[in-house]
Each structure stands twice: as structure tokens, then as C-alpha cells.
């Protein structure tokens, strides 16, 4: 049955006070996903030192769930090795957010994709 408010408290907190929002100077990697024409666009910046993510920032054009997913992802990434980071699935982001409405699961998928894109970017630069 319908829930009166579709977003969890954690989602609202991350939407209202997004963590790690903004540009990054000289990022080690950037992941771009989405498309403004789709009303969904995410840019993830990573600073990587010795295989460890020492900083993560984001910019997102999207709904409350998209912004909260981005914010939560950056929090989860900091301090992780690239290998550990790549194990973070969208389900984990959803779980960390205290759940998302079914129709908004794709926002967490976008976060996962942004991470993969950033790691790809990093690896292509390393080569």
C-alpha cells in the first residue's frame, strides 16, 4: 500500500545536506553518466593516491534520490581501495540510504555507473 512520504529520513538528510558536493581541482579521475536531456546527469570526481580513494566529490542534475545517491556514494568511497570500491553495488547504496522508492532505484544504478566510469577513466589514464 502507499506510503505517505516516499523518501527515507536518510535520503532527505543527504538531499538537504549533500556531502562532498562540488568541483575538485585536479581530480585523478572523473566519471560522467547520464544526459541532461534525460533529466538525470551525474559527475563523480575521485582523488586517488596509492590505489586508495582519498577524496570523492560529485555534481548531480537530478531528483532527490539522484542527489542523495551521489552524496551517499561519495561517503562510502572515501578511504576505500579501488578494488574495494568496485565491489560497491547499487543495492548497497540503496541500503545505506534506508531504501528508495521502487521507481527511483535507477538513481542508485546511475551512482554505480558513475563510479565505474570514473575507475575506467582512471585506468585509461594510467595506461
Amino acid at each position: 500500500m502507499d506510503k505517505p512520504f516516499p523518501y527515507s529520513e536518510i535520503v532527505m538528510d543527504h538531499f538537504a545536506n549533500p556531502r562532498n558536493m562540488g568541483d575538485m581541482e585536479n581530480p585523478s579521475a572523473v566519471g560522467n553518466v547520464g544526459n541532461p536531456a534525460c533529466g538525470d546527469m551525474m559527475r563523480l570526481f575521485l582523488k586517488i593516491e596509492n590505489g586508495v580513494i582519498v577524496d570523492a566529490k560529485f555534481k548531480t542534475f537530478g531528483c532527490g534520490a539522484a542527489i542523495a545517491s551521489s552524496s551517499m556514494l561519495t561517503e562510502m568511497l572515501k578511504g576505500k581501495t579501488l578494488e574495494e570500491a568496485l565491489k560497491i553495488s547499487n543495492e548497497e547504496v540503496v541500503k545505506a540510504l534506508g531504501g528508495l522508492p521502487e521507481a527511483k532505484i535507477h538513481c542508485s544504478v546511475m551512482a554505480e555507473e558513475a563510479l565505474k566510469a570514473a575507475v575506467n577513466d582512471y585506468e585509461s589514464k594510467e595506461e
Partner: protein, 415 residues
């Protein structure tokens, strides 16, 4: 599930500026008093007309019928009470086509789902159906209507005003065309009634939908005006209430409340209309100057008083609605019913059919904002929106990679 108390914790203001009147209005104190009185009156079932408790209930309905009819210039005997606009729209169209199977059905691509989705269920019934495309302001093209009417007498369902983009049709011209072709006009006035003057004879409307909760009455009650020459079939089975067209024990307290609301509105409709028109024009101008990348939707002049709707490039609408809400400004993305936050899956997260129809880029559609004021909105409310909204847009722009790209491209182009 977030509790309401917790939700309020994230709300950063004590302000409460309600700009979602298009989706529901607050019942007037006079309406509340009346409902309270009726509920306390030890009334019988209006169909129990053999005893005084039942007779008293019937009388309350009749009084309300007079008051509601008076608001739209109709005779009380031509008004049917229903459970709301959705039911009225279904009774008007499907009920008419059941009783008049030779007629076609014509509507526009910006009608409410309770009109438009009937296309779906009527398609099985061998009925000629046309859905007219509106122009970029949301206006129906009279020539297109004329053409659609050439073949067949039809029931034409076009609302006076659209809730999402505020555009008002030239309904008298439309009804003229319908009648010249032996067709009849149904108009869903859910969004318009209570805000502008409506007269079924002057406007030439044969079937007219009213919703109480959109005009300061209670939810759960609506009405359908039915021109006396028109035959309707009921859309569900039961007893003989409401001239046999709408079975089921009448919502006596709700009907009484609707009567009070209509009576109240009739008294001072004009003055509120003028006031809200001025406040709207003023807000429009202010936002035009202060909000970057704003795109207004609907017609700039032929629009509901108190109604401003727009989308903003580079930012997403739901985010802006949430920020507005956290600042005590309650707005919507048009019709609450089409709000997609609770869609069961991504496929249902479709763009608004209305914005799509008026040519807003399809994936921006979820991004539109409707600010709809009513008689209780003060100038202060409007000023508050003017002072807060531009900053919230700027906040989202700083978060938007799309905006970054835009500025970079611009710098490149300029430089």
C-alpha cells in the same frame, strides 16, 4: 517510512505558503461548520422518506443542490451529486456513450487522466475516437475540432482550464462549433470552478464536472450538471438515487459542505479573481527577471488567475519541489495524480502527458513546477515565493554538471 514529524525536522522554516490549490483547497470554515452541524443532526437515510429523519436528510441535499447549481447558472433538477470529479468525468463520457452509442468521442491530449484514460476503455466499444493535439500554449485549434466533428456527432470533452499549465480555452467558441455540428460539449471545470465565473448557458456547456475539494469544500464529493435534453446511463448498478443515474446513498454531509462552499464563492468570486490575476502577473514578472533559465508553460494571458507554471533548464523539477517544500512552499508538478514519485517502476515514471503535448523537451517534463494560489493566499505569500525561489534555483545550479557544461561551452564560444 519517514514520519511526518521527521519530515518536518528537515523543513528549515516556520513559513507555510500553500501554492498547491490546484490539487486541493482547504475547506472554508463555513463549510466545516455546516458539515459538523449535519453530522450532528441525527439524520436518516435520504431514501427513508417515510420518516422525518429521512425527510430532513433529503431536504439538506435539496438545499445544497440549489446552491451548487446557482454557482454555474444551472437549474437544480439538472444536477447530479457524485463522489468527485473523477466519477463525474466517467459518468459524463462513458455514461453518455452507453446511452448514445451512435456518438463519437473527441477530447484533447492535455485532459486529466479521468477523461483521457477513458479512450482506453472505450476503444473496445466501436466508438469513433479523436484526441486533438493542442498548440504550444495548450490551446485547442478550432479548425481541428471542426474537422474532427465532420463525420459524426460526438461528445466533445474539453476542460475550461488545465491544472498543470493553467491555460484556459475559448470555451464559448468551442461550444458553438460543437452545437453547429449536432454534438455536445462536456467540460471538466475542476481546475477552473471557484476561480472564474462559470455559466452553463452562456458558455453552452451540456455536461459539466465540478469537484468540491477544489473549491473550498470537502473531498469525496463532486457534481455533474446534465442538460435536461441529455440522456445518461449510470456507470454502476444499485438503487434509484440521483434520478437513477447515480446509485448509492448520498454523501449528505459532503454534499451539504459543497453547497456552502459554492454559496460562499458566489458572493465574492469576482474580487478574488481580480486580486489573484494581479498577484499572478506580478509573480510572473518577478520570476522572469530573477530566475535564470526559466521557461514558462501555458498561455501567458489566457490562464487561470493565481496560476504560474514553468520549468528551469539545467535543474530537475522534483529537487526544486523538495527544496520549496523544505522552505514551507507547497507546490506541485501540476496534477497530483500524475505525480510519479510513487510509480511502481521506472516505466511508469513517464513524462507528464500535458507538458509533452505542449512541446516541452520530453525529459524535462518531470521537471515542471506549478504554483497555484487560491482565495486564502495573501500578497505576503507571493512575496515570500519571490524572495526564496531564485536562491533555490541557484543552489541547484551550483550542483548541476549540466550547468557547468553550459558555462564552459559558453566561455569557449564567447572566448
Amino acid at each position: 517510512m519517514i514520519s511526518i514529524q521527521r519530515f518536518f525536522k528537515t523543513v528549515q522554516t516556520e513559513k507555510f505558503a500553500y501554492f498547491d490549490n490546484i490539487n486541493t483547497t482547504f475547506p472554508d470554515p463555513r463549510v466545516i461548520r455546516k458539515i459538523n452541524e449535519v453530522l450532528s443532526s441525527r439524520l436518516g437515510n435520504p431514501s427513508s422518506h417515510i420518516h422525518s429523519a429521512g425527510v430532513a436528510a433529503g431536504r439538506i441535499i435539496d438545499e445544497a443542490r440549489e446552491k451548487v447549481s446557482a454557482l454555474i447558472g444551472a437549474s437544480p433538477e439538472n444536477l447530479i451529486f457524485t463522489s468527485g470529479a473523477t466519477e463525474s468525468n466517467n459518468l459524463a463520457i462513458t455514461g453518455f456513450l452507453k446511452a448514445n452509442p451512435d456518438f463519437g468521442f473527441i477530447t484533447s491530449n492535455i485532459e486529466h487522466f479521468s477523461v483521457l484514460n477513458q479512450v482506453r476503455s472505450l476503444r473496445n466499444d466501436d466508438i469513433d475516437i479523436s484526441v486533438l493535439e493542442v498548440d504550444r500554449y495548450g490551446l485547442v485549434d478550432p479548425e481541428m475540432l471542426e474537422k474532427a466533428l465532420e463525420n459524426n456527432p460526438s461528445i466533445v470533452s474539453l476542460s475550461i482550464a488545465n491544472p498543470e499549465i493553467g491555460t484556459m480555452q475559448d470555451i464559448e467558441k468551442i461550444s458553438d462549433i460543437c452545437h453547429r455540428h449536432g454534438s455536445i460539449l462536456h467540460s471538466d471545470t475542476t481546475a477552473a470552478a471557484g476561480l472564474i465565473e462559470i455559466d452553463v448557458d452562456k458558455m453552452g456547456i451540456d455536461l459539466l464536472t465540478l469537484s468540491a475539494h477544489n473549491l473550498y469544500g470537502p473531498a469525496g464529493v463532486g457534481a455533474l450538471y446534465v442538460n435536461k435534453n441529455i440522456k445518461l446511463a449510470s456507470i454502476f448498478e444499485g438503487g434509484n438515487q440521483e434520478s437513477g443515474v447515480r446509485p448509492g446513498t448520498e454523501n449528505v454531509p459532503g454534499i451539504a459542505g459543497m453547497g456552502e462552499a459554492c454559496d460562499m464563492i458566489k458572493n465574492d468570486l469576482k474580487s478574488h479573481e481580480e486580486r489573484l490575476k494581479n498577484l499572478r502577473n506580478n509573480l510572473w514578472k518577478s520570476l522572469e527577471e530573477s530566475v535564470r533559465f526559466i521557461n514558462f508553460t501555458g498561455h501567458p494571458e489566457k490562464r487561470l488567475p493565481g496560476h504560474v507554471s514553468f520549468w528551469v533548464e539545467h535543474i530537475e523539477g522534483e529537487s526544486l519541489l523538495l527544496l520549496l517544500s523544505m522552505n514551507g512552499i507547497m507546490a506541485s508538478s501540476g496534477s497530483a495524480c500524475s505525480s510519479n514519485l510513487k510509480a511502481k517502476d521506472e516505466d511508469e515514471l513517464m513524462a507528464s502527458h500535458v507538458l509533452d503535448a505542449v512541446g516541452v523537451p520530453s525529459d524535462i517534463c518531470s521537471g515542471s513546477i506549478t504554483l497555484s494560489a487560491g482565495r486564502y493566499n495573501t500578497e505576503e505569500d507571493f512575496n515570500y515565493v519571490k524572495s526564496v525561489l531564485p536562491g533555490l534555483v541557484e543552489k541547484l545550479l551550483t550542483m548541476s554538471p549540466s550547468y557547468d557544461d553550459y558555462t564552459k561551452n559558453k566561455e569557449t564560444a564567447d572566448g
